[in-house]
């Protein structure tokens, strides 16, 4: 049962408190886990939140993949534990080879912060299990390097195996196949550029992010108990 969520904090991460607040809204306590941690035991779900881990120096995620916590993340994932990387967390997961592909600079060569419309492309992931394929969600993006790319055979495999989890309806960054999120072969490791935690209350203009985070907590074993906003 998902009773505890771990939210990994690298130096330079900045969305950790927002993810904790979003989980609290779904009734699940989340704890911050410093990047020096070597174990994730006791957690039912692990999130790598957005930000600029290690300043994004060299390239986003390139240094973070060497942080001690990443071996623990790999072990947690290998044991089937659900791991979600949001934005910078997605970049870290690709650098750590826990997810395929890479995220290059946006096609427009600027940072882009805006609300995007997404379509759920597969329910074969921990983040979308039980969510109707084709469902549309309004969730913001906030990145400079969110342009997903991969070798043609990798893209083909992602499509064939239902591992493209989310797609943009109006591609904001040049991503191949309009990809906004992908998962690994088992579906337990998911990366997405949009920020579901930023769409978790009416006050912020959308609660669609709760659909994804709720599905994640449910797939980790616990039916999410909605806490009124």
């Amino acid at each position: 049962m998902a009773q505890r969520a771990g939210v990994v904090v690298f130096p330079g991460t900045n969305c950790e408190h927002d993810v904790v607040e979003a989980f609290a809204r779904l009734g699940v306590p989340a704890e911050l886990v410093w990047h020096g941690a070597r174990s994730l035991s006791g957690f039912d779900v692990v999130v790598l939140p957005g930000g600029f881990a290690h300043g994004d120096y060299l390239r986003p995620g390139a240094i973070a993949r060497f942080s001690p916590v990443m071996s623990a993340v790999a072990d947690f994932a290998a044991a089937g534990g659900p791991v979600v990387g949001i934005c910078n967390g997605f970049q870290v997961l690709t650098e750590a080879r826990l997810l395929p592909g890479a995220l290059q600079k946006n096609k427009g060569l600027t940072f882009v912060c805006q609300v995007t419309e997404l379509e759920v492309a597969s329910d074969r992931s921990a983040l979308t299990a039980g969510v109707e394929v084709g469902r549309r969600l309004r969730v913001p993006i906030n990145h400079f390097e969110g342009n997903f790319t991969a070798a043609p055979e990798v893209l083909r495999a992602l499509e064939d195996e239902g591992r493209v989890v989310l797609r943009y309806l109006d591609n904001p960054n040049g991503s191949a196949h309009d990809i906004a999120g992908v998962c690994n072969g088992l579906g337990n490791v998911v990366g997405l550029m949009p920020h579901p935690e930023r769409a978790t209350s009416e006050l912020l203009g959308s609660t669609d992010g709760l659909v994804l985070l709720g599905a994640l907590l449910a797939s980790a074993g616990a039916p999410p108990a909605m806490v009124p906003a």
């Binding site: 130096p11 300043g55 930023r198």
Partner: protein, 710 residues
């Protein structure tokens, strides 16, 4: 050390005597001007810290780093007070974008704000973007930061306690930014390209990753009550931080230059003491707490080095080794407080009467409805080119994003959650300036700017509670500039006093001059408003099909003027005539009326009428909502483009029309029913028709054509 501390930038030597005339007291003011930031009591045990600064000159020389380090500097001013920085605003003014160099500056500045602000983890929630020829050689890059703190975490930049240690936190000290405040910020630009390029090393280089760790480490130190006082290192570097903390605490300090961690070998002691290397703080720590401080810093990977000791002598001594040579020995307070206080000559500009007599009534009017529509469309510009490059959502606070009259945020931050109260509380922020109004009449123009800023936060349903100012002016050695500055301060004082809004902080940027030509006077204000119950569905600039379009405030020919208007400037290249008059008593009643209507949701759209006049306000409501409107007659182009204070457009559901009229009449504010929302065209009977499609293409294309977005 005296050269940097007594520079115009650090000492306010030309402006100090004038700034005293501003009202700084108010029931909610916890900290007024003179500290690193102003602090307002927001209730519920929460306080708001707010400050605005300029980084004009560095940004002119090196746009990316100039703007980036401006962001870094203002953020440090906020967390120095114990506040978690939660919002940035960037009022930006550049030369016209048709010129390649102006585009280079604007692109670099916006990238710098984006690159630093996003990575350091503070959302940029609004600002301004204005283009005018007077800024071609000297752009204005102002930046406001706002932070939240539990009231009991408030801390000051002062030293005390003999034997306490001065601990330098953060980055190493290098040769960047030496003389930044004196060489750059306190001197004018010329057209000697080589000489200006040679100033590039005076611009600092920012590292947002270092600053992010410094924020977290500092807030943790303050949470654990491990520091006595703390001060950021900005202009004039260690000299400023050591002398100011000592002077404010009435103590002295010994500083060992050999203890300062250096970025490169061979720095001279004067370079170490005046370097403006970024991302550094000076914490005053009791010897018993040093180990705990070091431990917190180690975890955040922040360098912490003892570089000084508090003494009781009142003197700042710079030593080479604790027991080594005394390199300098001066009274700390003299650096901080004894700077000259100039009474510079002032003179009303000789050309002003001629300019005031140049009545815009002589301008050629638009000759046809289609020309009028073309004029209107040309005044539309979507600033999304800039703000979509800024993270404006972090911390889940942003309820109204950039692009409305004011940004609206939840009053909440990590570690600073409001106590019990059933209602979500909020704050509204707006920054405003108008060089055209202030060029014609700096006193009346500044009054109008304050009034407009207050109205912007009222349109978000907020009560304005405090103001910070960034006074951007030309060369103070020109008596005309000093007159403009003095008049602007008087105008600000008049408006703030009448509206009951205290000035809690500010910044003066002088020498904004290139090739001997001063910029138009540009006092920029940042307004903070509080919202007691923040609920979804805050009305924004929008028409709603079937809702009435009502103008609150004065209407008719006397209410507005084409003098200093955008239409006159941009369509006729004209700047002259007399501004419309401001009735501050009426304005105060309008503020309360509008905030109440918005709070009670008696309106479903609201927009302050400001630059560009009624026409631009209507067109903006159309493009932002995708809905047009159909209005009765408006007298003519002068009423459409004329600009005047205390005017707001509201969209009123028919069911509430009678209530809104009643409230307006109780408040003594005129209300004029102009027409009804709906359709896909802005129709003003007998005057003009502008289709949504044409307006959108002009609005969206205005900047993207110049700055190729995608």
């Amino acid at each position: 050390m005296y050269a940097v501390m007594w520079s115009e930038h650090c000492s306010y030597k030309s402006s100090r005597r004038h700034l005293r005339r501003l009202p700084t007291q108010g029931p909610e003011v916890l900290v007024g001007p003179g500290e690193n930031a102003g602090v307002i009591d927001a209730g519920d045990g929460i306080a708001v810290a707010i400050r605005i600064e300029s980084h004009n000159h560095p940004s002119a020389i090196e746009p990316y780093q100039g703007a980036a380090t401006g962001v870094g500097g203002i953020i440090r001013d906020i967390f120095t007070m114990g506040a978690r920085p939660v919002a940035l605003m960037d009022p930006l003014r550049f030369g016209p974008p048709g010129d390649a160099r102006n585009r280079w500056v604007a692109t670099g500045v916006v990238s710098g704000i984006s690159g630093y602000g996003n990575a350091v983890g503070v959302p940029t929630v609004g600002g301004e973007l204005e283009f005018a020829s007077c800024y071609a050689g000297n752009p204005l890059v102002n930046v406001l930061c706002c932070g939240l703190l539990p009231k009991d975490r408030l801390v000051f930049g002062r030293a005390g306690g003999e034997g306490n240690l001065a601990v330098l936190l953060g980055s190493t000290t290098g040769r960047d930014g030496i003389g930044g405040v004196s060489v750059l910020a306190s001197a004018a630009f010329t057209d000697d390209v080589e000489a200006e390029a040679a100033k590039r090393p005076n611009v600092q280089v920012g590292d947002p990753y270092e600053e992010k760790r410094l924020i977290e480490a500092t807030l943790e130190l303050l949470d654990k009550h491990l520091v006595f006082g703390i001060q950021d290192l900005g202009g004039a570097g260690l000299t400023c931080a050591t002398s100011e903390t000592a002077s404010r605490g009435g103590v002295g300090m010994d500083v060992d230059v050999d203890a300062v961690p250096l970025r490169e070998p061979g720095l001279e002691p004067f370079e170490i003491m005046t370097s403006e290397s970024q991302e550094r703080m000076l914490a005053i720590v009791g010897p018993a707490d040093l180990e705990a401080v070091t431990e917190v810093c180690r975890r955040w990977e922040v360098r912490a080095t003892v570089v000084g000791r508090v003494t009781t002598t009142g003197r700042l001594r710079i030593l080479k080794g604790w027991h080594g040579e005394v390199l300098a020995d001066v009274p700390a307070a003299s650096l901080h407080e004894d700077a000259p206080n100039y009474d510079r000559p002032m003179r009303r500009p000789a050309w002003l009467d001629e300019r005031l007599a140049d009545d815009p009534a002589r301008l050629a009017p638009p000759t046809s409805p289609s020309e009028l529509a073309e004029d209107l469309a040309s005044l539309l510009a979507d600033p999304a080119w800039a703000f979509r490059q800024y993270d404006h959502q972090l911390f889940l606070n942003t309820v109204v994003a950039p692009g409305a009259d004011a940004a609206v945020l939840r009053l909440s931050a990590p570690g600073v959650r409001p106590s019990s109260g059933a209602d979500v509380r909020g704050m509204a922020l707006s920054t405003d300036g108008s060089p055209r109004w202030c060029a014609l009449d700096p006193r009346a123009g500044t009054r109008l700017v304050v009034a407009e800023s207050a109205l912007n936060v009222a349109c978000a349903g907020a009560r304005p509670v405090a103001l910070v100012n960034c006074l951007n002016f030309g060369n103070p050695e020109h008596p005309e500039v000093m007159w403009q500055l003095s008049e602007a301060i008087d105008g600000m004082a008049e408006a703030c006093t009448a509206l009951g809004i205290p000035v809690v902080g500010g910044n003066v940027s002088l020498y904004n001059e290139s090739n001997g030509t001063d910029i138009d006077p540009t006092p920029v204000v940042g307004m903070l408003g509080l919202i007691d119950r923040l609920r979804p569905g805050v009305p924004t600039p929008a028409f709603v099909p079937g809702s009435r379009v009502v103008l609150l405030g004065p209407n008719g020919s006397g209410a507005v003027s084409l003098a200093g208007s955008r239409w006159a400037a941009e369509r006729r290249g004209h700047l002259g005539g007399h501004l419309a008059a401001l009735d501050l008593a009426l304005h105060a009643r309008l503020l309360a009326l509008v905030a109440g209507l918005v709070d009670e949701r008696l309106v479903d759209g609201v927009h302050d009428i400001s630059d560009g006049g009624l026409g631009v306000a209507l067109a903006e409501m159309m493009v932002k909502s995708g809905t047009g409107c159909r209005l009765g007659p408006v007298a003519g182009y002068a009423e459409l483009f004329g600009e005047g204070p205390s005017r707001v457009l509201v969209s009123v559901p028919p069911a509430w029309l009678a209530t809104v009229r009643e409230r307006s009449s109780e408040a003594g504010v005129p209300a004029t029913d102009l027409g009804v929302g709906g359709g896909d065209t802005l129709v003003i009977h007998g005057l003009l028709e502008l289709s949504l499609a044409d307006a959108l293409s002009s609005w969206r294309g205005a900047l993207s054509a110049q700055f190729s977005v995608r």
